[in-house]
Amino acid sequence: MKSIRALFPSIMYLCLLCLYIISGLDTEPAIAFTPLKADFSTYDPNKQEIPGGDTIKVGLLEPFSGQSAAAGEISNWLLGWVVHDINSQGGIMVDGKMKKIQVIKADTATQPVVAKRALQRLILKDKVDLFVGTAGSHIAIIGNQMAEKYQKIFMNYSAYSVHLMNAQNFNRYTFRTCSNTDINAKALAYYFSKTSIRKFYILCQDYSYGQDFGASIKKALEEFVPDAEIVGEVYHPLWLKDFAPYLSKIKASGAEMIISSDWPPDSWNLMLAIDQMGMSIPVSGQFFDDPRMSQNLKNKKAGLGNTVVNFHLCNVETELNSRFNKIFHDRYKDNEKVQISWPSGVVGGVIGHFYWLFDVIQRAGTMNTEKIITTWEGDTYESFTGKLTMRKCDHQAVMDMFVSPLVSPSKWSKTGDGLGYQDHGIRIPSDIVISPCPEGLK
């Protein structure tokens, strides 16, 4: 009996040791963040806290000057939202420590040479752990190259050119969470196959993304709407000053719908020109739902029927999306400065994708690049509007796509009775829009 008593502390010690080992086998960290938990009423992208100490350094590669500076500020706002949420919960458990996220901005000015310099500074001087971005496929390609050269993770959430992840440009450090030109085009064409619209005019910006989208939409219309007629196709210079001559040409073509990959300020100026010329032709694309533009249209017909395609829309009904909509709307519905009172396509989608990135890091439990790659490849994540899967072969996110025409009155407009999405977005399953893995990938 005495000997059993003497052994008791040792047995207890052994039991505790076993428990410790078993718990160590569990890959889930002890503390995990939960999306949308923070108090967002205080969140201000211009007054973001800069955490001290050992942090996860994330480079934000975006234009903060030049014509596309607004795109950079929006990305800063969206990334800041997620960082605010996670940091207010204490950060992420990596390498045995709770670390907060620190965002370091780098200005591309939407110029490849400037972007390359900015990235070198981010990687070599600021020593970021990974970087995210960016507006412009011609800039994202620089991101791809630098990610491979310095073996840093690059999350591309807003450059859509399909070529970015083909055999020539793919590398294992770059992950694209947004859709691509093929996916967007297929989703739109599939939607049009269910409507009576048949005469299309392609109007895109004259650079890699616009050219790719033009090629994608022609291919997709051929596949889904064989009786579609492309009555014209024009590629205009980036940041065009006057759309009127293009619109006169389009008017004469008899087109029923313009398909355009334009993004702001071009997408805004196109809509303003349609408005001022008293035209009623709708435009379909990814960026023709911006409430900041649509609420200023004076001609009641302008913008009506614009068809938006995106990987996220606020009018898609899921439990998580409804919760997200409410939190976002409560934060911005009375905000005079922010005209986006609902998390429209890109806004909501990109926030969801940032949560995915940090969730991957959390599950990897380390900032080790190789571990993050293996965790993310083939990963599945439940985002606001549904499941996101990172395809292993080309690091292209696979997800359902959403389409919504704009109507008036819309409950999704800032005022509740202006131009905005129809009540419910149309879901187009991922297996319809996704293309097979590109050939020749290593």
Partner: protein, 295 residues
């Protein structure tokens, strides 16, 4: 009228409207260079700033007309301050031919300052200036429709061109200005206050940029890249028209507007090549511009 004729005439008017807007921007630029020899790189930034000031005035008062009146005056005031406090000081240093370089650098610095100030004051989001109620809608003629606001821009530019011509060539003030430009020392000896004349010319140049900025605001979104958007085109106008030639600026603005509109109509993939090819051709044949003096 048949559809093709309608399309051609409409494109012609589009070219005219854009050309006139371009002339409004370029006229101030060429005036300052022609009269004072200053290549004001910040000119397009004054144009952008005027658009923002107009936006702000409209936010406060809701009146486009008040914006059209006040914003150019505010911009001219800023231009006058720039000339009095900065450019004039540089000239006092007797830097010889190098003065042009220092003036150029100064105006580049001011351009950057304006762009950064705009970003800090109004942010980077594009802003929209609404077309005033009176100029909204379409005008119908010969079976065609055309936006009233674009016709207004054509009219406004024509009026300003006439006004400028009258002031410079038909008034005593114009004689004084031209005399001061021709021979500043002689004009000074005759009792003309040459520095004041230069200040007035600079003010007038920036006022023109201001008018152009307000007029362009409802046609384009107002955002910090607006200056860059107009800079290249207005520079082409001034270079091809001949630095300092108002008439040259007018002719080239019209040509550029029409080349753009018809280029888009008939050779959409080549409209930029046509534009810059034309520039290369003119500068090769006549480096001083079509209406510029050889000096």
């Amino acid at each position: 009228m048949d559809a093709i004729a309608v399309m051609l005439i409409t494109q012609g008017i589009h070219g005219l409207a854009y050309g006139m807007l371009l002339f409004l921007v370029a006229s101030g630029f060429t005036l300052i260079f022609g009269m004072m020899g200053i290549l004001n790189i910040a000119h397009a930034s004054f144009f952008m700033l005027a658009a923002y000031v107009a936006f702000q005035i409209m936010q406060w008062s809701g009146s486009f007309w008040l914006a059209l009146l006040l914003a150019p005056i505010a911009i001219a005031g800023l231009g006058i301050l720039m000339e009095r406090l900065m450019l004039r000081r540089i000239r006092k240093f007797k830097l010889g031919k190098a003065v042009v370089l220092f003036e150029l650098m100064l105006t580049v610095g001011i351009m950057v300052c304006i762009e950064e100030a705009v970003k800090n004051l109004w942010g980077t989001d594009p802003e929209i200036v609404n077309v005033p109620e009176l100029l909204r809608g379409l005008i119908h003629f010969f079976g065609m429709t055309y936006p009233v606001y674009r016709i207004f821009i054509i009219g406004l530019s024509c009026s300003i061109l006439l006004l400028l011509g009258m002031i410079l060539f038909k008034t005593r003030l114009g004689n004084v200005v031209r005399a001061a430009v021709q021979d500043a020392d002689m004009a000074g000896a005759l009792g003309i206050n040459v520095p004041l004349v230069f200040t007035l010319v600079f003010g007038l140049g920036t006022w023109l940029a201001g008018v152009a900025g307000v007029a362009a605001a409802p046609m384009l979104t107002v955002f910090p890249g607006l200056a860059n958007q107009m800079m290249l085109d207005s520079f082409i106008v001034v270079a091809l028209g001949g630095f300092g030639s108002l008439f040259g600026a007018f002719v080239i603005s019209m040509l550029l507007g029409e080349l753009t509109a018809f280029g888009i109509q008939f050779f959409p993939g080549y409209s930029t090549i046509i534009l810059f090819g034309f520039m290369a051709l003119v500068l090769t044949i006549r480096p001083s511009g079509l209406f510029g003096e050889k000096e």
